[in-house]
Each structure stands twice: as C-alpha cells, then as structure tokens.
Symmetry: C2
Subunit: 440 residues, 2 copies
C-alpha cells in the first residue's frame, strides 16, 4: 500500500477524550473514529488489525472442530420470551419495533437463536458433539461506554455454542475451547490467565474468564507466578483426546488465580510471597458451561443411544475482537506508539523512502515494495513528501514491526537501514540482505 494513496489520518495532537493509552493511540493513528457514543468506525488501519485478529480466532476455532456460521444481528423478541430472558435482561438490551410493530432486539448474545437453530435440525445424539460459532456484531446499551472500543456499545464478538448429550461430553467440549483459547491468545502475542469466574446473566455453574496482564487493566487480579511459564498446547494437539484435553485444563487451573470479585485472600497468602503475582488485568475471553439452562425451556432434545429423548447440555464461549485490539495495545506499546506483535500488525514492514524523486531512493524503495509484496508480505510504502521527522514518528507511532529506511546516502551504495520497532535496533545492510532478513 502506497501511503500517498492510503487513508490513514494521523492526528498531530493527543485526543483529549481518551483516558487510556490504547484509546489514545487508536485515535491518533486513525484506526478508529467515534460515530456516536460507544459506536465506532474502524478506519482502514484498524480494520486491517481487526481482520488479522479475527483470522487467528477463526483458525483456532476451526482447529478445535467448531463450525462457523453467521446469525443475524436482529432477533425477534419471541425467542427471548421462550428462554425467559426478554424480561430479565435489563436496559442493556436494545429493544426495537419494526414497521409492523413487532418487538425485536439487537442481539447482545445468541444463546436463544443458536438453540433455535439446533432444535430445528438436530434430532439424534449421532450428530453430537456440535459446536457452532460466528463472529458477529452485538449491541449492549452500556450506560457508560468508555475507553474506545474496549467498552463500546456496538462491538464484535466471536461466540461459540457447544451441544452435547450429557455433562461428561459437555465438559470435554468446554476443555477443547479452553485449549483453543490458550492457543488463540498466545498467537495474538498475549499471555492470558484463565480464572474462575462468576457466570453473570448467561447463567450456569462452570465458567472461566481469560485475563491478560496489562498495567492499565481495569480489574485487579491475583495469581501464582507459575502461569507465566506454563506451556501452550501445540498446533497439532489432539482435540479428540478426552484425557489430554482434561490434562491441559487441570494444569492451567492447578494454581491460584482470581479476579478481585472471586479473590480468596487466605488462599493467596498461602502462596510463597515470591510466587505471588498481583497485577492489573483485562478480560479478553469468557467461557461457560450451563447445562440445560436453555435447552430445557426451549425444548432442545436429541434421541440418545438408549432411544430416549435427552435435553442437550450446552456451553458458550466468547472472545471480543474489538476489545482485543486495544487490549493488545495496552500490553504492547512505548512512549513512541504501538508495538504490534507480528501476527496482528496491520503491515509486516514499512518501507520509508526518505527522498522521493532521488533516483536511487525511488529505485530501491519501489523494488523493495514490489519484491516484499511478491514474497507475501503486507507492505506499507511511505512515498510521501513528508519531512524525515514526520516519517520516522509515524512509522514508530503505528507500530509496524520492521522499518526499512531508504536514504539517499546509503541508497547510493545500494544499502538500506533496517530498524526493529520493538528493540529500536538499527542496522545498515545491502538491499539483498534486507530482503533476506525480512522474508527469511
């Protein structure tokens, strides 16, 4: 992408309305724009990051055997009356009447609708287990939306729903998602700690939040330091291995971890002081097992191997991509801007032409832009007439992992400077060496 033709509106000033660093940086880099209170556009730079986050979530959901569909944003009130949540859900639910005066709502979550899909088609235990997910917009009419897309009203959620014949199988489904979440957050460059959680309005009796550690996190968390070193399940882990999945779950829940709501001071104090980790955290995922809470009122049953009808046991599993993006920034930035993990960076590399119009600078920059693109890299090419200082500041601000600086003096020698955004290390090398470094 040539910067001269791109739409990346960098703000010169720090926006005053932003209270936390991720919100400030997302506004400054032109990743998002507020359209109404708690409702945002994702501008091109932000959209690229969001897409990469979603791609990783999707890959890991698919790997674990979950199947993607897409449910609509608007739901009929009837479904929620069936489950009993239409009245129970408070003012956070955006209630709407269509032109026929039929009561509808903008889905805050999809337990009812997915249960309706299930009961419409699935009649036998032979079609189980089943885990259906979508990545879709949701709306929750928060009284106080804040922190940009960290707590917005219209937001994106990956929500998966598992269906099993009995509790034992449902626990395996839960453990599979548990492992998939560990892999997902790890690939996003985050260390997430699963913590036993309250079940809230979803209901149920078995639930974990995934919390990432970040200085600016909104909740206080307490855990054993061992978490930092636990192994992440490998890409080829066998999700069908019931004992193996249980072992991963057992390992990751073997030591103390709790948010302040669930904190047990005595248990925490029993940990040797040097192993205690007390920090700030951001919730980035939440998983629930809730048995027959929805299948019972909504009549979602299958015929079991015994020939009898059984209510299915369900779980639901949420990750918020539009919250993950700022969470990643909270966990990875410095005074100059964002430091993207390579897996979700909007571009893999930025080629900075220091003197457009200079023959050597243009030739080398254009060549790198073309060749890196052909090698499968997402390349931003700064071909603008901005001053050097502006170009460097922008490249640092937007946090692309690798910068290739093409200045007239080194270009005359066929050389460029490669800068690592994270460490700040710079190295002059030939164009060929730069290509090898970046694509190798």
């Amino acid at each position: 992408m040539r910067l001269s033709r791109y739409f990346m509106p960098i703000l010169k000033e720090n926006p005053k309305e932003a209270e936390i660093v991720s919100h400030r940086l997302m506004l400054r880099t032109g990743m998002i724009k507020q359209q109404s209170q708690g409702i945002y556009s994702w501008l091109p730079l932000g959209k690229r990051v969001l897409d990469k986050v979603n791609a990783i979530i999707r890959e890991e959901q698919n790997r674990s055997g979950a199947i993607e569909l897409s449910m609509p944003t608007l739901q009929s009130a009837e479904l929620w009356q069936e489950s009993g949540r239409y009245d129970a859900y408070g003012k956070e639910m955006l209630r709407i009447k269509d032109r026929q005066e039929r009561p509808m709502l903008y889905g805050p979550t999809n337990e009812e609708m997915v249960t309706d899909i299930f009961r419409s088609y699935v009649k036998s235990y032979k079609n189980l287990p089943l885990n259906l997910y979508h990545i879709q917009l949701k709306f929750r009419d928060e009284i106080r939306p804040r922190f940009g897309t960290m707590r917005s009203r219209e937001f994106m959620m990956k929500d998966a729903y598992s269906f099993d014949l009995n509790k034992e199988d449902a626990v395996h489904s839960y453990n599979k998602m548990f492992a998939a979440y560990l892999r997902t957050f790890d690939r996003l460059g985050l260390r997430a700690i699963p913590m036993r959680a309250d079940t809230g309005p979803i209901g149920g009796n078995h639930s974990h939040e995934f919390i990432i550690l970040a200085e600016t996190g909104e909740s206080e968390v307490f855990s054993h330091r061992d978490f930092v070193n636990f192994d992440i399940p490998a890409a080829d882990v066998d999700f069908d291995d019931v004992a193996g999945m249980q072992a991963i779950f057992d390992k990751w829940t073997s030591v103390y971890a709790a948010t302040s709501e669930m904190h047990d001071e005595a248990a925490f104090d029993a940990i040797p002081e040097s192993d205690r980790l007390s920090a700030r955290g951001i919730e980035v995922g939440h998983i629930f097992y809730f048995g027959t809470k929805y299948s019972e009122p909504m009549g979602a049953k299958v015929q079991g191997p015994d020939g009898k009808e059984h209510l299915v046991h369900m779980g639901s599993y949420g990750i918020g991509p539009t919250r993950l993006v700022p969470a990643i920034i909270e966990a990875s930035h410095d005074e100059n801007g964002i430091i993207w993990p390579a897996s979700v960076a909007p571009f893999d590399v930025v080629v900075i032409n220091m003197k457009p119009g200079d023959e050597a600078c243009d030739r080398i920059s254009e060549g790198l832009y073309g060749d890196l693109g052909k090698a499968g890299k997402d390349v931003l090419y700064d071909d603008t007439d901005d001053r050097a200082g502006t170009k460097f500041a922008t490249a640092d601000l937007i946090g692309v992992p690798v910068q290739v600086i093409v200045g007239p003096r080194s270009a005359a020698n066929g050389e460029v400077e490669v800068k690592d955004r994270k460490t700040g290390a710079r190295e002059v090398m030939t164009v060929e060496a730069a290509m090898n470094r970046i694509t190798g």
Copy 2:
C-alpha cells in the same frame, strides 16, 4: 471437512414457502435458515459461499484502488437530519431509540456517515482521489420481504464511496468502479449487463444497474445481443489510465440495454431482430454519481490547487453479496440441484466414500482427503453411513464442482470415479490421475 462432523442439515422435502428455485435450494441444502420475516442465519454451507463471494468482491475493490474500512450498523439520526434524508426516507428505515432516548437508526446505506468521516479528516485535494468501501450489514424494512435472501430485510452490502475534486475526476472514479464491477461479476461466473438506471432515493444524475440474466429474474430487460461477447477488463488493466477506463465504459454502454422502467421501444426496435435480447434479469449491483448532493449540505470541502475551497464530488457503488448468492443459483442450477461456479463453490471437491469400513475405500478416501487438502483444495469428505443414493443426491444437490466416488470394486484396483457436476461426465481413473486432474 468430514461430513460426519459437519453441520449441513439437508431437507428431504422441498420447502413450501419457497417461490423461486434459489430460495428452495438454499433452504434444502441447509445454506440458510429464516429467523424472522426477511432475516436469515447463514448456516455453515451458505457462509462458505458468502465468504468466497465477499473475497472476490474485496479483491476487485482493492485492485481498483478502493480502501476497506468498516462503519457500524447503527447511526445517529443527527447525520441524516444534516443531509435531509431523515424525514425523506420512508418506513424502510428502521428507527430506534436507545436507553437515553436518543434517536438512532439501523443504516440502510452509508452516504452520510462516510461523508462525515471524509470531512473530519480530509482537507486538501492532495489526498484525492479517495474511494472508501466496507462490506457491512444493512437493514431495510421492506413491506414484503421475499425470495429468501434475494430480498431480505437484514442483508449484506458492499458499498463504496468515491470523493473527487471535480466532476471530471469523479467520472474517472465512476469508470474505475464500472470496470471493477465487470471483473467482479465475471469472476463470480456471471455475465452482467450494465444498464442505465433511475437513481431513486440515493439521488444523482448518472447511474447504472448491473443486471444478470436468469430465467427467474424479477425484472424484464432488453438489450443488444453483443453484450454476451464483450471482453472483460484483464486483471492487469491500468485503473489509473483515464482514457483506458473511459474506453471500457464507452464500449459497454455503446449498444442498447435497459430495464423495463427505462425501456425505449423505438430504440430497441431499431436493432436488427436477430440481435435483440429480451430476457429476465436480476439486479446485482448499482453505481451512482451524484456530485455534491451530500457534500453540500454536510460541508465536505477540500482546498483545491487554486487555494480555494471546493465541495467534493461523490459517487456510491453497491453490490449485495447476500443477493448475489441466490442470483448465482438462479443462473446456474439443474433439476438435481445447484451447480456452483468453481470460484464460489463451498467446497472444490467432494470425496464420496461409498463403503466406510472397507479397508481400500477408507484408505483411498482418507488419502485423497488429506492430499487434496494439503494441495490447498477445500474438500468435503462424505464419510457417513448414508445409502449410496442419498450420497449421490446430496453431492449433486449441494453442487460441488467435482465429485470423487470411491467404491469398493474400483478401490480394490486402486481406482476411483471422477464426476463433473456440471456436465455429469464420469470417468474411472487411478487415484494419482484423479489427484492430477483436480489439482492440475
């Protein structure tokens, strides 16, 4: 994907509510499920097709220089009051009040919001031309939604918006989208004919609809037969070539084409009878140039090279992916089911194991499933215990382009049967030959 683990609820009976073939086939194959009137879930098979359609749309938008972002579904009423459309837009607009009693709406289109984005950031002609697009859900509260996702209330739209300094540049932007649309529909396996169109509620003075021919189309169209043979712009066409783009536009608008609303009988009769094409069509895209219709009331101006402020000239460009999927089916099916163009088929190939449990059948089927997947193909593997007749009927119904039938007799000789869904041609060959045929 192993069919035994997939969620593809095939209906045995033809659904009674479906009036047209695409709606019937999308319900029968379990591609969609109606959730409320005119509101659908896209089940896994349908979601796969929709994703492939969107991927092609996106590639061609990007190729033409348009830049992707994502605007939210909910908009504040204020923006629409600025443009004057809040009152003008009728009951099709879904009006909502949030918990603070603020008037909002579910966006039926995004001219206002994108103009707001533009005016917030772009101040100089140097940042033009600019074309911003998103692929996002829209809602139009049709009084009579029908034909499944062909005319639904919650639907997906790719909508692009161009911004230029003056009319001349805006016409070039229009021509670029015109060419991009020709490429897009061609890659989707469709022959689309651009026709001069009414501008309707979007407004403006220069507009074309893209109509595909299908026996079951809802509107009558009249055109010169030459369209069928016009060349599609090549992948490496230069979108910056103003004259080249104009030549493409001129060529494709050089002969008669009109929907019944715009039909000029005298002009049509002037065409030699053997060249007249009178057929049914489905609108799958619509492009507009509308000058300063929105920039004027909303104050979207840039400084020109003359140092003065100029209202930007705009256009908008829509394609409906959730309508394109049924349109493709209308244009490509037979009595046994859907015949997907390869570019949007939910799977590239289905491997049908005729006798799971048979050593040779299992070995060959599993081998092909694995190897074809490694070769980058999307493979559906029918590993179920269904009867042969059911398996064949399902494979034909869902319209996967290539079927590989692995039966015990030929498997014992290391052979399989490869069937082309479209022609029905079947050929027995070695496993290796089948691999080469499919991946070659």
